[in-house]
């Protein structure tokens, strides 16, 4: 690590956002909306554009529409919903009516376009510093940010850590197979590039949105799915986490719980599940009836090649001691991500500052700040997946905004109903909605 001297620390930037994905963009947009100038914010990211890493993942699983609804957007405010904007763009009442019934879901393509437009309007790229922050050090009144070569990149008064997910989980048998047969591309993680061939049986491990998206892609391509989940499949929840966590109505009782009970509720709330969109319901029902979809509760314990070069997958069902061998042409592991505390930057912070964790969660204050690293006038906060302790739906756009709006108060001051402030906000909101740049 380079020596820190007052000379090389430079002048501290008021806010540093570490990470350049959607959570970073949302934090940036909210701060800009609250009147923080672009030159007072730096975004440290190796990615050129918000959504770049995310798009690769959703393209790999073939996801076309979002799980989020009309308010799942990058405006700093909940209004207008994407359905309202589409109503005016397409001159059709359909989006708004769908939204009244919580059935409106934007496309992946429209979200990427919207992210790009908003980023441009708020001058996101003006604040972007191309660097991957690997280490954060706390000083009494600021934070020092270092890159992977342990070179000092910047000093910031406040830091918002928005680093996204840790690495995807690969089950042991999948890892073992890939190590044994590195040239064999038939066993993959969900986010690896892969081809779907009609008529072939695919074994998909996992029970969340990625797994179900893979099922749909395979079924629609004429393939057959053997879906395996260790804990069984949970269908029907529209959003990733129950809706109640999107406001104080659910957050209040959750936050009032004792640590153990709060953790238990959080584990339950963030448990993988599969939405039953109108189209999907029909596809699943038909595939189940035609034998193109088999749901198996069990644990994949081994993957081997048989004498005909087919894949033999060993599955042990709960309560059974007899392993079952299932034949498939390909295996896809759609088993989610490691907990956020495994993200190298967060893991390093936990180790360096002995930050409290409970089960797999980083313990945060309800405003998403890390208590041990925050002092009056200099806070360290976390947004996105890693802030689930404060906001169970932290992995959603709505959850990211709840956190970002709280944090914004520490930088821009508390919101008031002062007429001048209301006018300023209305002007900025109108500028964003009508595609103009924020001054």
């Amino acid at each position: 690590m380079s020596e820190i001297t007052p000379e090389n620390q430079g002048v501290a930037v008021p806010v540093g956002i570490v990470g350049g994905g959607f959570a970073a963009l949302i934090a940036y947009v909210v701060l800009r909306f609250r009147g923080v100038p672009a030159q007072n914010i730096r975004v440290f990211s190796a990615d050129n554009s918000p959504g770049e890493a995310w798009l690769k993942m959703v393209q790999a699983i073939g996801q076309k529409t979002m799980r989020s609804e009309s308010i799942g957007h990058f405006f700093p405010t909940d209004s207008p919903g994407l359905a309202t904007l589409e109503l005016f763009k397409k001159r059709s009442l359909k989006p708004i009516i769908l939204s009244w019934f919580d059935q409106y879901r934007p496309t992946v393509e429209s979200i990427i376009k919207h992210a790009h437009e908003i980023a441009q309007q708020v001058h996101f790229w003006q604040s972007l510093v191309p660097a991957r922050i690997a280490h954060i050090r706390k000083t009494p009144d600021s934070f020092l940010l270092y890159n992977e070569k342990e070179e000092l990149v910047a000093r910031v008064n406040n830091v918002i850590i928005a680093v996204g997910h840790a690495d995807p989980v690969l089950p042991e048998p999948v890892k073992k197979f890939k190590e044994m047969y590195p040239q064999d591309s038939r066993v993959n993680g969900a986010f690896d590039e892969k081809q779907v061939q009609p008529g072939h049986p695919y074994l998909v491990i996992g029970d969340g949105l990625s797994a179900a998206t893979e099922w749909v892609r395979i079924i629609e391509s004429g393939g057959c799915v053997i879906a395996v989940s260790q804990k069984g499949f949970q269908f029907g929840q529209p959003l990733t986490t129950p809706r109640r966590y999107m406001s104080k109505r659910g957050l209040g009782p959750f936050r009032r719980k004792q640590t153990g009970a709060r953790c238990a509720e959080l584990i339950q709330a963030t448990c993988a599940n599969i939405p039953l969109y109108t189209g999907w319901k029909k596809i699943f029902r038909q595939a189940l009836a035609e034998g193109a979809l088999h749901l198996i509760q069990g644990n994949v314990t081994d993957i081997q090649k048989d004498s005909t070069n087919k894949l033999d997958i060993t599955v042990v069902r709960p309560g059974s001691e007899v392993p079952e061998i299932i034949e498939a042409d390909q295996v896809i592991a759609a088993t989610g991500f490691y907990p956020a505390i495994k993200n190298p930057l967060i893991a390093q912070l936990i180790q360096d500052y002995n930050l409290p964790i409970h089960d797999r969660f980083l313990v945060l204050k309800d405003d998403c700040c890390i208590e041990k690293l925050s002092t009056p006038g200099s806070f360290a906060a976390v947004l996105g997946h890693a802030s689930a302790w404060a906001i169970p739906c932290a992995d959603s756009f709505a959850g990211m905004k709840i956190g970002a709006r709280k944090i914004a108060d520490y930088v821009a001051g508390k919101e008031s109903w002062n007429a001048r402030e209301l006018a300023r906000k209305t002007n900025r909101w109108a500028a964003l909605v009508f595609g103009k740049e924020l001054v």
Partner: protein
């Protein structure tokens, strides 16, 4: 979509009465019938009682439910106004209610989240 707390429902409802009051003023001035003040008072009482009920019964309110609640609110308001003998015809009362409801909905849905960005996060609580 609404995930309001009971306090949030009542606080937001109370604030929207400033709009309802303004609409009542416009109707009084336009028609010369001061009974719109009484109609506003009845609507305010019915509205607060119903919001309390909805707040206790409902956690998540999808958009379409707002129309059902509006119909219920108008029905009870009209009934109470008739019982109290407020001299406003059903058609005139319906016009007043509809105008007030539309203006209120537009401001609540589109502008409240702008003026106070944490309004929805705080379960529609304002203070």
């Amino acid at each position: 979509m609404t995930l309001a707390t009971l306090h949030g429902r009542l606080q937001t409802k109370a604030v929207t009465y400033l709009l309802a009051l303004t609409t009542a003023l416009v109707f009084v001035l336009a028609t010369g019938n001061s009974a719109y003040w009484s109609l506003f008072a009845v609507m305010a009482i019915v509205g607060l009682v119903l919001e309390t009920v909805w707040g206790l019964v409902i956690t998540h309110q999808p958009g379409w439910v707002a129309f059902v609640f509006a119909l219920a609110e108008f029905g009870y308001t009209a009934a109470l106004a008739a019982v109290l003998g407020i001299p406003v015809s059903l058609a005139a009362g319906a016009t007043y209610y509809t105008v007030t409801w539309i203006v209120t909905q537009l401001i609540v849905i589109y502008l409240f989240p702008v003026w106070y960005t944490k309004w929805a996060d705080d379960g529609r609580e304002i203070w």
